[in-house]
């Protein structure tokens, strides 16, 4: 972090930049008169929700707005030699040279940035050649960059993009963007599709790169807490304009009502659970931006003045600008929740789960063959992916269990096993004492039919759009489950019931929503319909697979609240799957449920939600905890050192011996590489790590693992 910039000289200055698209409905301004300075050598975070115009800002910086959009205004870039050029005035060839040589960009959808039919090496080579650079020297630099990003250059060069894991691809792309040694790097949501732990690891690396290569970084994201430690300043965007800019070190510097509400809506690990509030209303349409302050329809501090006149961005302190007529009143009226909360001793609801388990899973194993099977696998020696490897779990009535882990840890497979959608290759799944798969094969002894069990175990997916029939109205989508399971209801009853449900889910007027098709609903609304549909089957357990991850931050809390309210009403349990410890804490914490942490097919720590969050024992859980930034840590700068030794998850085809976490574990000792710790049972809070064992365990006398033992297993993708 380079707060000690010699002169606060601006490398980029934007003046009245407007991006507009002509549409049938009128001119759509997706960037509205934005003026902002970007200092040389700083990391500027640009934060906004989807549809706030933040991506347009990124494109405008390189005059790369896609047709038929037009950019007006001035974007001045100051070169190393002190000359100033207006990027929007450049000739095609000048612009071609400026891009990537001076300003490089990593935009959204980075996962598909690489040509799928070309090796990674080709991308570096062609870029060097296109800019007439010395190829040997350039490739040497590429190697250095890749190594900086914890990748093995030779291996990465020789792979095709699809052979790399998401995190590796993202890092390779960062290396590619720095290949021509640009001064400015613009990154648009570069990590959004990755696991939190990977996101944080990449941010740590970025921080190092910024220092080493003296970069100016513009980091665009919807996730303010994520970038808070990385950035020097944060600019908040709402309705296609910048609302405020403030030093990132202390979030209480923020003085705009929108920023405050946004921060108070973010679930995190310290704020008391009761103080989270979602923002009422929705962001405006680019064709029809409210007059005056664009935030006034949603702003709790709004006065008639706000409706009349648009507040300008004015400087209120060094490095700090805000566009709000009443910013002085913010501290009083809209205090930051994390400041008022009493240190995170969140009230835990007494869960009313019974002692009777609904679903019991015993020593579950799910092993996949990588081969697609069929007659001809005779010729193959199939590789086995151990997606789930010996897991026990009991889910009670009215229970909430959150499974947390990185992608590829087997949490989704495990969840599907729990609701009988995936047959385990070992162990048993019992619903109220009756083995699900025996029942399906007709061997069971219980008196429930397989269909009954299937009805009692429901699922909602991450992407609600794909599970709702696009050709049916909401009302008919919701009537299907009632028709089959409550056939005694007549048409009128069903109608009344579903309207009541829509109303309860906050979709009012319900008559209006019942008449819509799925494409006329927002992501959050679709997810609600999916939830209602699942609940109308009157299930005992609902598997919610990343059910809130795709939603905007401010809507996640809403959705989880709804899940909890409806749990009370319907007496159901949730198995909630997430890569995000915060969401897991919110849902499981409020219901007095448990969090289970999965790593490479095993549960490595499980316990009451608050326990796991406040007092994580396993080094992996601690790493996950680290990846979830605390909003109130006022530690300026230094995105602190990553607590894991290797960034990428090992290959599940050939998991590490001993403790599966040992190649990445900062506490690993020699014993860990040969012996496997088991989940100590007996207590509420169990941890599979030797550090939880008694003092006389050989771990404590064992030598710490050296670097050379680690390399062998690292490397995420199958080769």
């Amino acid at each position: 972090m380079s707060q000690q910039v010699v002169a606060q000289e601006n490398i980029l200055e934007l003046r009245d930049v407007t991006v507009s698209f002509g549409m049938n409905r009128g001119v759509s301004k997706v960037l509205d008169d934005v003026s902002i300075d970007i200092h040389r050598g700083e990391i500027l975070g640009v934060v906004g929700e989807s549809g706030s115009g933040k991506s347009m800002l990124a494109s405008a910086l390189l005059d790369a707005v896609v047709d038929p959009g037009t950019v007006d205004g001035e974007v001045s870039y100051r070169t190393d030699s002190g000359e100033t050029v207006d990027i929007l005035d450049l000739e095609d060839e000048e612009l071609r040279q400026l891009r990537w040589e001076e300003i490089a960009m990593v935009f959204q959808g980075a996962m598909s940035f690489f040509n799928p039919t070309m090796k990674i090496r080709g991308h570096f080579l062609e870029t060097l050649k296109a800019h007439d650079q010395d190829v040997d020297e350039g490739m040497e630099h590429a190697r250095e960059l890749l190594t900086d990003l914890h990748l093995e250059p030779d291996r990465v060069f020789d792979t095709f993009p699809h052979e790399l894991s998401g995190g590796m691809k993202q890092r390779a792309l960062i290396a590619l963007s720095l290949i021509l040694e640009p001064n400015v790097l613009v990154m648009d949501e570069p990590t959004a599709a990755l696991d939190l732990l990977m996101q944080r690891s990449i941010l740590t690396l970025l921080d190092d790169l910024q220092e080493k290569y003296d970069l100016t970084i513009v980091f665009i994201t919807h996730d303010l807490p994520l970038v808070k430690d990385l950035c020097d300043r944060i600019a908040v965007m709402y309705a296609f304009d910048v609302m405020e800019v403030f030093p990132a070190g202390d979030l209480s510097n923020s003085t705009h009502p929108y920023t405050r509400s946004l921060l108070n809506a973010v679930p995190n690990l310290t704020t008391s659970l009761d103080e989270l509030r979602s923002i009422e209303g929705s962001a405006p349409d680019p064709v029809d931006i409210p007059s005056g302050c664009s935030y006034h329809p949603r702003c709790p501090l709004s006065t008639p003045e706000c409706e009349q006149e648009d507040p300008p961005l004015e400087e209120i302190a060094p490095d700090q600008e805000v566009a709000c007529w009443h910013h002085e009143k913010v501290d009083e009226e809209l205090p930051l929740a994390l400041e008022t909360s009493d240190g995170g001793s969140a009230e835990v609801y007494e869960g009313n789960q019974s002692d009777e388990p609904v679903v019991v899973m015993d020593d579950i194993e799910v092993h996949f063959e990588t081969d697609d099977g069929g007659l001809l696998s005779l010729f193959d020696d199939p590789e086995i992916v151990r997606a789930v490897d010996g897991v026990d779990l009991e889910i009670y009535e009215n229970d909430v269990v959150a499974i947390v882990g990185e992608s590829g840890c087997g949490k989704t497979t495990f969840g599907k096993t729990a609701v009988g959608l995936q047959e385990p290759t070992g162990g048993s799944v019992r619903y109220r004492g009756q083995d699900i798969w025996e029942t399906k094969r007709g061997e069971g002894t219980g008196d429930r039919s397989y269909d009954e069990i299937r009805r009692a175990l429901q699922i909602i997916h991450q992407d609600p759009g794909s599970s709702l029939n696009p050709n049916r109205k909401v009302s008919s989508i919701l009537q299907v489950p009632m028709k089959s399971w409550q056939s005694d209801l007549d048409v009128e009853d069903r109608k009344a019931r579903l309207l009541a449900m829509l109303e309860a889910a906050g979709m009012s007027p319900p008559e209006d929503y019942a008449d819509r098709y799925p494409h006329q609903l927002s992501g959050g609304e679709k997810q609600r319909v999916a939830l209602i549909r699942a609940l109308l089957m009157n299930p005992d357990l609902i598997l919610a697979d990343e059910a809130v991850s795709a939603l905007d931050v401010s809507m996640r809390v809403d959705m989880m609240d709804l899940m909890l309210t409806l749990q009370d009403l319907f007496d159901t349990s949730y198995l909630f799957i997430s890569h995000n410890l915060t969401n897991a804490r919110y849902l499981a914490g409020r219901a007095g449920g448990r969090i289970a942490v999965m790593y490479l097919g095993e549960i490595i720590e499980i316990g009451p939600a608050e326990e796991i969050v406040q007092n994580p024992q396993h080094p992996y859980t601690q790493a996950l905890h680290w990846s979830t930034t605390d909003l109130d840590s006022n530690s300026e700068g230094e995105a602190d050192e990553s607590p894991i030794r290797a960034i990428d998850v090992p290959d599940p085809i050939d998991p590490p011996s001993g403790c599966r976490f040992h190649p990445r574990c900062p506490e690993a000792r020699e014993v860990c590489a040969t012996e496997k710790p088991s989940l100590d049972s007996g207590t509420d809070h169990c941890t599979a790590c030797f550090r939880e064992y008694s003092e006389d365990h050989p771990y404590w006398d064992s030598e710490p693992l050296g670097e050379e033992t680690i390399g062998a297993h690292v490397g995420g993708e199958s080769s």
Partner: protein, 334 residues
């Protein structure tokens, strides 16, 4: 490309061929009113007085590769072995070995089809790419309409039209045959005559075939043009030439390859009608003839050869596709 994958593909191809042989065997042997009983009845009728039962069976075996008095499994094994050794029996009508007949006609069909496919794809790809680049223009609109129309016309309708005008009305092309008689095989005039005779069948296939390819090429290119990696390549300052050939063309053409596999099978099936219309004695012509004359050995031999041709085509395409598109390089189910 690894060995295991290759083995698997070869295994898969052998499996298809084996199923065909088995199916043919089952057809001959098990169908009521099967070729065997039919042939025995005929032989009996003709020579019943002079031929012993054993002799009749010997005749049946000679023609159908089946020994009617052996147990079923033994017959099956013999048939399988004979077939794998390339002995497909004798034509019932012409009295020559089936293999000889097939070797005579197969190259002609392959000639027709390969030239037709080549033209279909060349025209389709070029047209589709230009349509994509000019998306939304009048040219795009017109070509799309014409292509859509041509795709929906069956090739035999077109073939009849061609014959009607070019042969009967204007007398520009011969009505049938593969080459004019009396030319020295291998001479330039001979080749010219071959092409001359092949023109109409090829044209009818090409005209009705390129439209579909053009339309998918257009869709693929538009999709590729809108993809993130094109935008990335532009930002990195790559030349337009490199982008269009290394990024757009390659990624848009590759998916067409799968279409090619289906095309091969489809065209062999179509050859039956096509060759009949143009009196072109290729394998399709022979198949139809054999069916009309109930020449079972020939019919089944032809059927088998067509299957094998399709299998080999698919196999080759599959093999090369792996080379072209890294994404399916090892045949992993990703």
């Amino acid at each position: 490309m690894n060995g295991r994958w290759l083995l698997k593909r070869i295994g898969m191809s052998l499996l298809v061929v084996w199923s065909t042989i088995t199916l043919t065997f089952a057809l001959i042997r098990l169908m009521p009113g099967s070729p065997i009983s039919r042939m025995r009845a005929e032989l009996y009728q003709q020579y019943g007085a002079t031929m012993t039962q054993a002799e009749i069976d010997r005749q049946v075996r000679l023609y159908l590769n089946v020994q009617p008095d052996e147990p079923l499994w033994q017959q099956y094994i013999t048939y399988l072995l004979d077939t794998f050794q390339g002995d497909l029996g004798h034509s019932y009508v012409q009295g020559i070995e089936v293999t000889v007949i097939l070797a005579d006609v197969l190259p002609w069909t392959v000639l027709l089809l390969s030239i037709a496919i080549m033209f279909q794809y060349t025209i389709g790809i070029l047209l589709g790419a230009s349509m994509a680049y000019a998306e939304g223009s009048r040219f795009d609109f017109l070509s799309t309409s014409v292509s859509t129309f041509l795709v929906s016309v069956p090739f035999y309708v077109f073939a009849f039209l061609l014959i009607f005008f070019f042969v009967f009305q204007w007398d520009l092309f011969p009505q049938g045959g593969k080459y004019s008689t009396g030319l020295e095989a291998g001479s330039l005039a001979f080749y010219r005559s071959v092409l001359y005779h092949a023109t109409l069948p090829i044209v009818s296939l090409v005209i009705t075939g390129f439209g579909g390819i053009a339309l998918s090429m257009r869709a693929n290119s538009i999709q590729t043009l809108g993809s993130d990696y094109i935008r990335g390549a532009q930002l990195r300052g790559l030349s337009n030439f490199r982008i269009s050939y290394r990024y757009v063309a390659r990624n848009a053409i590759l998916p067409l390859y799968t279409g090619l596999l289906i095309q091969i099978g489809f065209l062999f099936g179509g050859a039956v009608i096509l060759e009949q219309i143009f009196s072109y004695r290729g394998i399709g012509y022979v198949l139809l003839d054999a069916t009309l004359y109930r020449d079972y050995p020939l019919m089944m031999g032809t059927f088998m050869v067509i299957t094998i041709a399709v299998v080999v085509g698919v196999f080759v395409a599959d093999l090369t596709y792996g080379k072209l598109d890294p994404r399916i390089q090892t045949g992993d189910s990703q």
